[in-house]
Every structure is written in C-alpha cells, then in structure tokens.
Amino acid sequence: MAGGLFLLSCNPPGPIIIREKADPCSGGSVNIESENRLVPALIWKKNLRDSVDPDPGIALGALLMPLPENKLRIVSTNNGSRYAEIRFREPIISPIVTAESLTVINTGGRRLLILNWVKRDVLWEAPMEGSTAIAAVYANKVFWVDGLNYMRCFDINDGNRIWDRKLDGIDFTVTAVCSLGIAVFADDGLIECFDLEKGDRIWSFDAGARIKGTPAIFEDQLVFCTIDGMVARIRMNDGELVWMKDLRSPVFGGLAFDDSGVYAGTIDRFMIKLDYDSGDIEWKIKAGGPIKTGPALADRMVVFAGLDHNIYFVDKSSGEISLAYETEGMITKRPLICGNRVFVAGEDNYLYCFEMQGGE
C-alpha cells in the first residue's frame, strides 16, 4: 500500500476518518499481511436484544453501538461482553464517529456531543440546528455541517472554533476528509472541498446526482457513488475527474477501495469490483438480496452483507465467495474490522464476530 495514508471505506452514510498510521481497531479496512490465505470463521455471536441503528463505531478494542431508547452500548471486541451503556436525552441519529477514546455523536439533530466514551464524559457540545449530517474527524479537528448550512471546524479536544464557512449547496449530509482537505457532499450532487486549516474552498465538482453512500478516500484520491448508479474517482488536490463508471443501479451503501480495486454493492444485488486505475469492471457477483451496506476490506477479502440475511466474504482477486454466512435477519449496518476480526450487527439483534483464521 503506497503512502502513509489509509483509506477507510465505510458504509451508508458513514464517516471517513483518515489516520496517519494503521489503527486496526478504527473501522474500515485493514491490511493484514499474510503469506497464507486466511479463512473466515464465526467465533462468537452475542444477542444484543436490540437492533443497532444507526451504524456503530469501533475504537480501542471496543464496539460503540447505538440502540433504541437513546442508548449507546459499548462492548468488547474480544467476546462481546458489555463494558458500559450510556443513555442520552435524545436518540442517536447519525453513524458513530470515533477517534480513539473520543466519539462524536449527533443526538436528535439538536446537539453534537464530543464524548470521551472511556470516561463517559461529555467534553463539549455544539448545536446541530436540525442537521442529520455526519461529522468527520481528522488530526484533532472535528468537522460538521449544521442545519444553518455552515461548515464548522472545531478543535476536538477543547471545543474551540477553528473556522466556519457558509456553504452554497443544500442539505449537506456526507463528508470525507484527508490531509488534502475536507470534501462535503450536497443533496444536489455538488461536492465542495475545503482547506483543513482555514476553510478556503479548494475546488468544487458537480456529480450530477445525490451521493448517498459514503465516499472513500485513498491516498489522494476520492471515490464516490451517486444514487443513479455512477461511480467516479476524482483527485483530492484539484478535483479533476479521473474516471466515471455507470453501474446501472444505485449504490446506497457506499464503497471501499484500496490498491486492489474499488468495491461497490448495488441495490440490484451486485457486488462489483472496479479497476482502480480505469474504473473497468473486473468482476461482479450477485447476492441473494439488495445490498444496502457498504463493503469492508480485510486481508484478501471484501466483506459485505445483504438484505438476504447473508454475510459474504469474497476473495478480492477472483470474486469467489469464500463464505456466505446466513443470519436470522436482514443486515443493514456496515461490517467493522478490528485486527483479524470482522464484526457485523444483524437485524436479528445478534452481533456476529468472524475471525480470519489460517488457511492452507
């Protein structure tokens, strides 16, 4: 993997967090260097007795899972045992964004809470003004768009304002950030990229349609998908389009990519791998139901889940299904990865833990 940045792909609509070093417990993809092919196997499953919604987060060996009745449950990635449960005044309405011991939580579209989930302390909070947008965290900064259409950048530790900027588009709900800037995606398909330090606009790009699934950033490249089925790669430094591909079906769950390729799951049931350089389709496999969640990348596997109740582990190179594990309910939340483990919260109220175990 070239460069020092790691990309993180997330799922619908999920936060993008870029780290300078790989943190195997921060969600998204990990690169597990392995000589031997690893085989996924279920090692435990835990009945949460509730369904997780919205998307959970992962950090420091813990899973942070939003549950009904405004609860955030923190469980161990080791065996699923409960560490703690925090209850808020309002429901958590946006996917959990984590930065080691800190997590950013949008409660009820009213308040953005910066929470030290280890100590269970709210460090500071900011008004969201009705926004359901997902925050992003990078280099000790937290970024979000509030209901007044202001892009805000605050210091995550002390809550001091760094900059803010009024946006031109409408209904910004998704953000993606790397060292080159922060990109925000408007409901009408407008993408705007701002400098991290001062908030100056670097470039803008009209994607032509709304971007629903969370985009992915890898090195200096941004890949996103639109609701009309277009997948595009643009350069983060100047916003130039590298390629655009029509998948002919909406991608709701976001996508993931690394140097092996770009992976996107479509509503018409296909998981598609695109060539990183050209955007050409390398393979596509059909799941048993629509794919509402984005994939996660682990070792040589792409992991995704469908509304057909199955969790799929697919070989990145060949597109062959290594394991299709059937659960008792739909799966609408993104898989999370920590080390050599994959976690999936199912709508059957179970948390599934798979481990990549030594193969041949």
Partner: protein, 947 residues
C-alpha cells in the same frame, strides 16, 4: 347496575353478532356464498398463493407477478419479509365479493385489498393481465409499507409511531405499482386547470376517493422526480424519528409538509397550464346535457312520440347513493329526465356495473344492459315504451357480462363475457334463436364490441398486441363470414369504444394517443386505405362516444370540474390531425404475448388447502361502569386463512368478591361455518350477572347452555335466520316474591329479514328494512310452554333529496306465556321526549316519523390542542307515537309500568357524524298524550345511528 347489564349484553351481542354474520344483526345486507371452491395452495419463495383449479393459469401468473413485485419492492423499501405472504386469488370480481376474509360487503369498485391483521392480499382477476399486474403490485406495496413501519417501530422500541395518511399509503402504492397514464393525468390536469388544486394539508377532504389515489400518486411522483426514490426509502427508515407524518417529512426532506405541498402545486401549474393554450375544455366546445351527479355511458335509442320518431339518450347516472339508468331527449335533462332502472336496490339488479359496462339502445326503443343478478350477470332488455325489463337472459357458462351492443337490425347483441376461469371474450347473442356464439377465445381482454351497420363485422378493443401486456389496447375487427380477426389500429395507447358510422367504412372511437382521451375517426375501415383523424383536442378526456342525428351529432361523457357529465356537439367537419396508415401494416393477427407464469425455480409446487387456524383478533375489552367501576374481558377469534371457519371466544368475570369468582365466570365460545350459502354454527355459554330493573327489582341471573344457529340468504337483500337455544336459567328477584325462578328452556326462533337501505352519513336515507321474528320457548321440566315472542319492525325511507329523506318506522312487539318478556319504551332511540325505558309491558307499539336533512357537510373547528372535524351535521324534525300495555290480569307492582294509552312526542334534533364510526344525536322534544302538550322541550342525547 342497569348499565352493567347493558355492557354485558353488549359484549355478548358483539360475540354473537361478529360471529354470526356480516349482516349486522337484526338488519343488514348479506354476503352470499353462492359458490364453493376446492382451494389449493401454490407456494413460492415469498408467497403462498391460494387458488382453485379453474383459475390455475391466473394463480401461476399471480405467483410470477408477486415474486417480481417482491424483488422490485425489497429494493425500494430496503426491506425483506421473512414470513410468506398469504395471497388469495379469485378468478372474477363476482367470486371476490363472496370472500370471507373480511366480514363487510365489498363495494363493486374494490379491485383488491390487503387485510391488515394477517396481512392477506386478496385480489380478483378482471380479465386484464395488465390490470392484474398493477393491482398485485399495489397491494404488495401495502404489505411492505405495513411491515417496514412495524419493523422500524420494533427495532427502535417505539409503540406509538404515526400512521401514514391515507393519501400517502395509497399514493405510494400507486406510484410504485403503475406508471403515470392518461387517466391519472386527466384528473390532475382538471384539478390544476380548474384552479382547484387541493392543498396537501386538506387532502383529508377527498379521503378514500379515487381522486385521492391519483393525487397521492402525483405527490409521490413529484417527490420521486425531484428528490429521488431513495428519499422515500429514507422516509421509511426514519419513521421512528418523528411523532407525526409532518415531522417525518421534515426530518427526511429538510422541509415542512406545507413547503413540499407548495412546491408540488407549483410543479403542477408549470406542467399543466400550457395545455390550455392549444387544447379545449369540454364545456367550451360542447353542450352539457346533464346537471347532477355523475353521468356516463350514453346510448341512443329511438321511440315514437307526439312529434314523430325521436332519438333519446339512455345513460347511467349516480345521484342518490346508487346507480341507475335514465333517459333524456337529445336536448338534455332539463327538458325531460326519467329514471328507468334502479341498481343496487333489488336482487334483480344488484349492480349495474356503473363504470365497467356500457349499454346500448336500438331503433325499437329497446335498451340492452348488463346487471348483476344473484351470483352472475344477466343480459337485460328494457322496453322504454312499456317501461320495464321485458327479457332477462342468463348464460350458464358466463358469470360476467358487460357492454352489450345491438346489431343494426335489432335482433342480435354482442357483448363481453367472462367465464369462471376468468377469461374475457366477445360473444354474440341471437335474440330470435336464443343462441350464443363465442367470437374470440383467448387469454386477451376484449372490450367494448359493436356491430357494423351491415351486421357482418364486430369492432372491439383488445390488448392482444405485444404492448397489451403493459395495458395498451388497439382496435380489431371480427368478420362473421370468415371468423378472422383483423387489426385496425397500432401503437402503445388505449383505443376503445369503437362505433361504426352509417357509411359503414368509418369507425369513431376514443384514444389516449395524444396524452388525453379524445375522439378519433378511423377512415377506410373496409376499403384498405386507412387514415386516422383526430376530431377533438380536449385537455381532460372524453369517453363512450355515440352518434345521433344521422351521424351529425356526437354524444359522449367527459370529465371536467371533478365530475363526469354527458355532452353533445356537432361532429367536427375538420379534423385536428390526420395520419395516414403506412401501407403494408399487417392486418392479420397472431398471439403476441403469453400469460406470465412462475418460473420453475421459484415454485415449490401446490398442495390442497388445509384448514389451519390462527389468531384473527385478540383484544381485552374494558368497560367502565360509574357504579361498579371497571370491568375487563378477553375476546379473541381464531379463523382459517380463507375466513370460512371462525371461532370466537369471550371470557370475563363479574365477581365483586373473591368468593363469587367461580359463579361469576362469564364465558362463551362460538363456531361459525361460512363455506356454504347457508352459514351455520353453534356455541356454548355461561353468564352470571346481578342487576336491578323496574319490573323485577334486584335480579341475580345465571344462564348457561348452548345454541345452534343458521342463516340462509335468499339474496343480498333478504335472508332467513333461525336459532335454537338450550338454556338453563336461574333468576333470583326482589319484587317477585317466593322461590327463585328456575327454568330449563329451549327457544326456537325464526326471522325473516329484508334490507335494501342506502345510508347517508348518519343513517339510512333510502330503501326498506323489515324484520319479522318469532320465537317459542319450552320449559323442559315437563315440556310446558314457557313463553313466545312476536316482533315486526318495518322501516321505510323516502328520499327527498340527495341527503334528505322522510323516514318512518313501525315497531310492534308482543310476548306471551309463563314468563313474558317486557319491552321498554322511551328514550332517544324509541319514543323521544320520554325518559329512557319510561314504560314497559309485554306489548309495545311504536311509530316514528322523521324528516332528515343536511345542515353542514364538513366543519373543522380549531382548538388550541388541535383540530376537531365534524362530518355531515344533519337536522331532524320528528313526530313519534307509542303505546305499551299488559294483556293479562296480573299487573306489575309498579303502577307506572305502561303508558296506558297512546302517547306521543314531536320536536327537532341534530345528528353529528363522528368520522363514520358513530353518530352523536341531540333531540329536543315536547310530549303529548293527545289531549295536551307539555310546555317545555325535553333534551336528550345519544350515540347511535338513526333508525
């Protein structure tokens, strides 16, 4: 304590009446199970299709369409359904109307429904596969909607999520099941151009109407086009995030419902206002012939009059809550209007198929029309000179008939007929030989046939072209001489209602090829050089054109200003457009498409239907008594998937102390079998209650036993009912001294019931209701006569206007025997002005007279806590008379038991309809003994429908 007894009686009544019949007990119309079906179950990945062998093709098509819909909708809703969805298919609306899955009578225009408790989808096949595909998907959208919202609620532990408004529920079902077509466009064009767009916050005013479906679809179209379908998926995912639908809209779209509605209105105006520049409105270029109600399906017939032989228009009209056939001269109803046949009033014409079937007149003044008579349709010939139906023809092989059309000679009739298997074809009937000939025999829907003037050709509209699978229909010609079918028009539009002109080489018809239904002429029908001439250019749409005045006048129905009316205009001399048919277009026809059938991999085969019971309804009934406090009870029902076998259970306890618990158990179980025309069943019960009443004083009453029940409907409107009760009665009373009354009795009762009533918002406005009942009880100790009852209740409603009527009731009740029943008189629902149950005796006579009239149609009052809407406030003027008397020597201890002669009352009242659930009645009455009149008005109020 009396209240308590009333509550118990009410619960018992509910138990028996919900069990026994949809006939609403005492009165009510009947759902008649004319046919029995050998039910099978076809199992697919996501559905269990219930069907009978005669409709196997339809069931397989349903299976394929349902699975296709499932795949489409799971993407739209981002949701899967784990449990197989029950899907019941009927091969005809005629059989569909007999379903026991829901108890109520199904209106004729119901194309299918999704039952909410077991989420059963129930759909009839109407002959058209494209219509069928639309309804299948529409109903499955409902299943997904219900399941998705329930799923979101459960996942977020929310029990009080808002229900979607009906316009949204039906709008999204239409949006995701049918494309936007000329019919939908017609309603929206009219609403927009007439300047009467209904704001989204006022859509309740058209709730339940067909217009609401189309307005809802238009709103969803707007949301989909503007914000994307994925936002609709988000809306369902967000359902837990708002307490009201308006909040959900704001959370999902970031705008208020009012803002969205305003955007939609602007979108409509931008879309439809430009049409008015180049197109016409019907009332601007044609003469409107009808004034009131809805008027469709004109037909021309001739009849001798003082001025010689004249042409008249026969047509269907809906004005007073039922459809009828009426006639008027060519100049319109303002010169003469006469109702010829009333539909929905008798078993002769249970339905006239108002929308689905046309009619036709001939040169002898005879009108041919189809009507539902008992189970199947009949072809009727009405003689306008004699003023009656002179011939009624039923065909054993056909269950449905529509759109009959005369030959020019007036001896033959062509029509569309449907068989039990659901096939729709064209038939010709010879009045002289009494023979029927089937002209087409295939899977395609064939509609609106008509003879040529030479009687050797029949033009009809059919979906047999490849585009027909998606709902298009073109014109075809059947040649009697060769039996060949030739194609006349081409394209993916609806061409229908062809009528030959006198020249024999031209056909007028309607087509939506320009976006709205307009009048066209097909020229050169037989000479091969064909041209299509567009004769009108209406914004909205016209239907069923017929020619009069030697083809110089065209009469048609058209939609404008939210209504259908008849119009006439001179046949335009200059066409709007002319299109030449390309030479070489094939006239010959080969079957272009096949019935969609379930592919093998999805099907798990079919098995015979087995009766398995599951909960249908379970509820704890709680009643509050101001004296004894609350009382709770449990009611539940077990029914099979088809609703043919029904068990009802009731359990509650009336004990005041722990010691009384065992003896105060009240329980009942009832079984009803509805598989046959005669519904029958039985049950067992044990009831104990303590109460006081004027005749007996304190009463402790224990009753237990069993009963058998049977109901045989003669038709939709008339039935016999009978029941046999074996009952042990123990009655301890205060006023009747001595040992407690104990009796083991058997009671046999028999009733004849007739109900042709038509209801308004607060009660019946038209028709007749009659209940004649008698019962005989035997004391089983020694088989002595115990008592007998004889009751007659006759009610007649004379229509005075659309929402006004004169209603009268004559009620006579008599009880004889050892333990006579006492009937109470007085109160808002019997003799107004007098106290409730002021008189009682074993004889009762009551005569009510009431004039009902509308005061306010719709009243919305805003309170700080929200709005309260009152529908249909009615006024009443009444005059009542009554008498109650004992007819034997031993009079009750109470000296004021009876009225001791005729008494009466008169006054006025108001009735407020509370959402069609019940009616709040206020009465102000002055009493009279027919010698003097009280000075003051007595006020009373009551919840209940008008008698």
């Amino acid at each position: 304590m009396r209240l308590r007894r009333t509550i118990l009686a009410t619960i018992l009544l509910c138990l028996i009446t919900t069990a026994t019949s949809q006939a609403q007990y005492y009165f009510g119309q009947n759902k008649v199970q004319y046919s029995q079906f050998d039910w099978q179950v076809l199992s697919t990945d996501h559905f269990n299709i219930y069907f009978y062998p005669e409709e196997k093709d339809i069931a397989e098509a349903a299976a394929q369409l349902a699975e296709d819909s499932y795949e489409f909708l799971q993407e739209k809703f981002n949701h899967t359904i784990d449990k197989k969805i029950p899907f019941i298919v009927y091969s005809s609306p005629v059989f569909f109307e007999q379903t026991n899955i829901i108890p109520g009578l199904l209106p004729e225009n119901v194309a299918g429904f999704t039952e909410f408790f077991k989420q059963r989808v129930v759909i009839p096949f109407n002959g058209s596969y494209s219509d069928f595909a639309h309804v299948v998907r529409h109903e499955i959208v409902h299943v997904f909607t219900m399941q998705k919202i329930a799923y979101v609620a459960k996942a977020h532990r929310k029990n009080n999520l808002s229900h979607p408004p009906l316009w949204f529920t039906e709008g999204i079902a239409e949006y995701w099941s049918s494309g936007w077509n000329s019919e939908a466009d017609m309603f929206m064009r009219d609403m927009t151009i007439s300047g009467r767009i209904i704001p989204v916050e006022n859509l309740y005013s058209i709730s339940g109407s067909f217009l609401m479906y189309k307005v809802g679809q238009s709103l969803l179209n707007y949301l989909g086009e503007t914000y994307g379908d994925d936002k609709l998926s988000d809306l369902f995912d967000n359902w837990w995030k708002g307490k009201t639908f308006a909040e959900l809209i704001r959370v999902t779209y970031g705008k208020s419902l009012k803002e969205i509605g305003s955007e939609w209105e602007y979108w409509l105006r931008k879309r439809y206002y430009p049409y008015i520049e180049n197109q016409e409105l019907p009332d601007r270029v044609a003469e409107k012939l009808t004034r009131d109600g809805y008027n469709v399906k004109p037909a021309i017939f001739t009849r001798d009059s003082k001025r010689g032989r004249e042409e008249y228009i026969a047509f269907k009209t809906y004005r007073l809550g039922y459809s009828s056939i009426a006639e008027m001269p060519l100049d319109g109803e303002k010169y003469h209007y006469e109702t010829l046949v009333k539909g929905g009033r008798s078993e002769q014409h249970e339905s006239l198929h108002f929308i689905d079937s046309g009619l036709d007149g001939n040169i002898d003044g005879l009108i041919a029309f189809a009507s539902k008579s008992q189970e199947s349709d009949a072809l009727n010939i009405y003689d306008t000179k004699r003023g009656k139906v002179v011939r009624k023809i039923k065909f054993d092989s056909l269950i449905a008939i529509s759109s009959p059309s005369w030959s020019s000679g007036g001896t033959r009739i062509v029509f569309e007929g449907s068989t039990k298997s659901g096939r729709s074809d064209i038939y010709a009937y010879d009045m002289i030989s009494d023979e029927i000939t089937q002209l087409t025999d295939d899977i395609y829907v064939d509609r609106t046939p008509s003879f040529s003037f030479t009687d050797d050709l029949v033009a009809f509209s059919s979906d047999r072209d490849i585009n027909g699978k998606d709902g298009s229909r073109n014109l075809y010609l059947y040649d009697f001489e060769t039996g060949e079918i030739k194609r006349m028009t081409y394209g993916s539009q609806i061409d229908e209602s062809p009528r030959f002109t006198r020249s024999g080489d031209r056909i007028i018809f309607t087509s939506d090829r320009t976006g709205s239904m307009n009048l066209f002429v097909l020229d050169g029908v037989t000479n091969g050089h064909r041209r299509t001439l567009q004769m009108t250019n209406f914004v909205t749409g016209i239907f069923d054109p017929v020619l009069a005045n030697y083809d110089s006048t065209v009469v048609f129905s058209a939609y404008q200003n939210f209504g259908f009316h008849l119009y006439k205009m001179d046949m335009p001399e200059t066409p709007v457009t002319v299109s030449e048919h390309a030479s070489g277009k094939p006239e010959s026809f080969s079957h272009a498409w096949d019935i969609p059938k379930l592919s093998g991999e999805l099907s798990e085969g079919s098995v015979k239907y087995e009766t398995r019971f599951s909960f249908d309804i379970a509820q704890s009934a709680v009643a509050y008594d101001p004296i004894v406090g609350t009382m709770g009870g449990l009611q539940f029902a077990l029914t099979d998937m088809l609703g043919n076998h029904q068990y009802y259970f009731l359990f509650y306890n009336t004990a005041d102390t722990r010691e009384d618990f065992i003896k105060s158990i009240n329980a009942g179980a009832t079984y009803i079998n509805k598989t046959h025309r005669m519904n029958y069943g039985g049950g067992i019960f044990h009831f104990y209650n303590e109460y006081s009443e004027r005749y007996y004083g304190y009463v402790g009453e224990r009753t237990y036993g069993g009963f058998l029940y049977a109901s045989y409907p003669l038709s939709r409107y008339r039935r016999f009912e009978s029941s046999l009760y074996l009952r042990n009665l123990e009655k301890d009373t205060t006023f009747i001294a001595g040992k407690p009354l104990k009796a083991s009795t058997s009671m046999l009762s028999l009733s004849y019931i007739k109900d042709t009533s038509i209801w308004g918002a607060s009660g019946p406005l038209d028709g007749t209701r009659l209940n004649i009942s008698m019962s005989q009880s035997l004391d089983l100790d020694g088989f002595k006569y115990f008592n007998g009852t004889y009751n007659v209740d006759f009610r007649r409603y004379f229509r005075l206007g659309r929402s006004s009527a004169y209603a009268t009731r004559l009620l006579y009740m008599k009880s004889v025997g050892q333990d006579k029943q006492r009937y109470y008189l007085g109160g808002s629902w019997s003799l107004r002005g007098f106290q409730r149950r002021e008189f009682y005796a074993n004889n009762l006579l009551l005569i009510n007279n009431e004039i009902r009239f509308p005061l306010v149609n719709d009243l919305l009052i805003s309170f700080p806590i929200g709005n309260m809407r009152f529908q249909a406030i009615q006024g009443a003027l009444f005059f009542d008379m009554g008498n109650s008397w004992e007819d034997y020597k031993t009079k009750p201890i109470d000296p004021d038991y009876g009225s001791n002669g005729m008494v009466g009352s008169f006054g006025f009242g108001f009735r407020v309809s509370l959402g069609y659930v019940t009616v709040l009645r206020f009465d102000f009455a002055r009493k009279t003994d027919f010698k003097s009149v009280t000075n003051n008005y007595d006020f009373d109020f009551f919840f209940g429908w008008n008698f």
